[in-house]
């Protein structure tokens, strides 16, 4: 079974995407080898923004996140810091919902955004995931636009909030990456744009949730 990065492998943490953006490290969790491969490629094709760790089970995801009860260990800067979790909902043994609950229940991982994926457009499923703290719920098969918006979940809106790992994407850096170096006004516009985007996204998801069944 092919993996982009297996747990324990060293990663090039100095790798930066185009324009000096820090890389966002995504933990992909999916028991389907086909879906894992496709999502990995979608992320890799996103202009070098993402660094991908993929596992085939919720249990392995817990290990990567340092949430495994058997091997409980305090957070360590040498650990693979994950900026966002992208997990399938339906998996054997430990579902994506179970993983979401575990991530949000633990103080060391609670701030990591979790995005759910599913082939089922189930409004109850979507609502329950959001209620527990999922950032988004994406229908499979994933498209390029779905992957592109993952970046926004690692970007703080307004005052800097403690989200994901230290590998955050400050608004000023995003503005700089678009060739707008030292342009505070552009940074404010970018922040406003992201807020509008997320609001529209929320309403779109709400409409989708109410129209399924």
């Amino acid at each position: 079974m092919e993996e982009v990065k297996e747990e324990g492998e060293e990663m090039d943490v100095n790798d930066c995407g185009g324009g000096g953006l820090e890389v966002v490290r995504v933990l992909v969790v999916d028991d389907s080898p086909v879906d894992r491969k496709i999502v990995e490629m979608l992320l890799r094709r996103s202009e070098g923004i993402f660094d991908v760790v993929s596992v085939d089970s919720g249990k392995k995801a817990m290990e990567v996140l340092g949430l495994n009860e058997i091997e409980a260990k305090p957070p360590n800067h040498d650990d693979q810091k994950i900026d966002i979790v992208l997990t399938d909902y339906c998996m054997p043994e430990m579902t994506g919902l179970d993983l979401l609950k575990a991530v949000k229940a633990n103080s060391s991982s609670r701030s990591i955004p979790v995005v759910m994926m599913s082939s089922e457009n189930d409004s109850e499923r979507i609502s329950s995931c959001r209620a527990i703290g999922a950032e988004d719920f994406i229908l499979k098969p994933l498209q390029v636009k779905d992957v592109q918006r993952l970046r926004t979940y690692t970007v703080p809106i307004g005052p800097m909030s403690k989200r994901g790992s230290k590998r955050k994407l400050p608004m000023a850096l995003i503005a700089e990456s678009n060739g707008a170096e030292a342009r505070p006004l552009l940074a404010k516009v970018a922040a406003f744009g992201s807020a509008v985007f997320l609001t529209l996204n929320f309403w779109r998801s709400s409409v989708m949730s109410s129209s399924c069944n």
Binding site: E2, S32, K37, M41, V144
Partner: protein, 152 residues
């Protein structure tokens, strides 16, 4: 040069047939869009993974249908995964037949399940053969720009 363009036309025709006959949908185009110079065999790798995974799932489905009493919930779990994989590579006919199969499952309709499974197996066999031919031709043609390969 003429031979190369002839092969490209053949490739495009083959792909168009796969779409027109309903075996593939636009999701397959998405996979081809993802392939590039750094991953020149991406589509073939995904297709290979799919047939390996789907063959395993179909063997599980076969076992589940043989068991007595039938566990339709377990059967549905396998079908959910098979349908998901089929959807991910754009295997439209298989995906649609899996949907019908799941409906029979939810009704506990064994006869319907058996008929549907036979169709899934047929679609799987035909798709495998057609995609093997397509990928074989694709290897001959080599890297081409996406516009010239488009046949859908």
């Amino acid at each position: 040069m003429e031979n190369a363009s002839g092969l490209q036309r053949q490739l495009a025709r083959m792909k168009k047939d796969l779409f027109d006959q309903g075996y593939l949908d636009e999701q397959f185009d998405q996979l081809e869009e993802l392939q590039d110079e750094s991953s020149p065999n991406f589509v073939e790798e995904v297709v290979t993974l799919f047939f390996r995974d789907s063959s395993r799932l179909m063997a599980n489905i076969d076992d589940a249908l043989q068991q007595c009493p039938r566990d339709f919930h377990r059967l549905d779990n396998f079908l959910h995964r098979l349908k998901g994989s089929a959807s991910s590579i754009g295997a439209a006919k298989m995906k649609n037949e899996c949907t019908s199969f799941r409906e029979f499952c939810s009704e506990g309709n064994l006869d319907g399940c058996l008929r549907s499974f036979q169709k899934v197996k047929n679609d799987h066999t035909i798709l495998r053969q057609k995609l093997e031919n397509y990928l074989q031709l694709l290897r001959q043609v080599g890297p081409v720009d996406k516009a010239s390969r488009s046949g859908s």
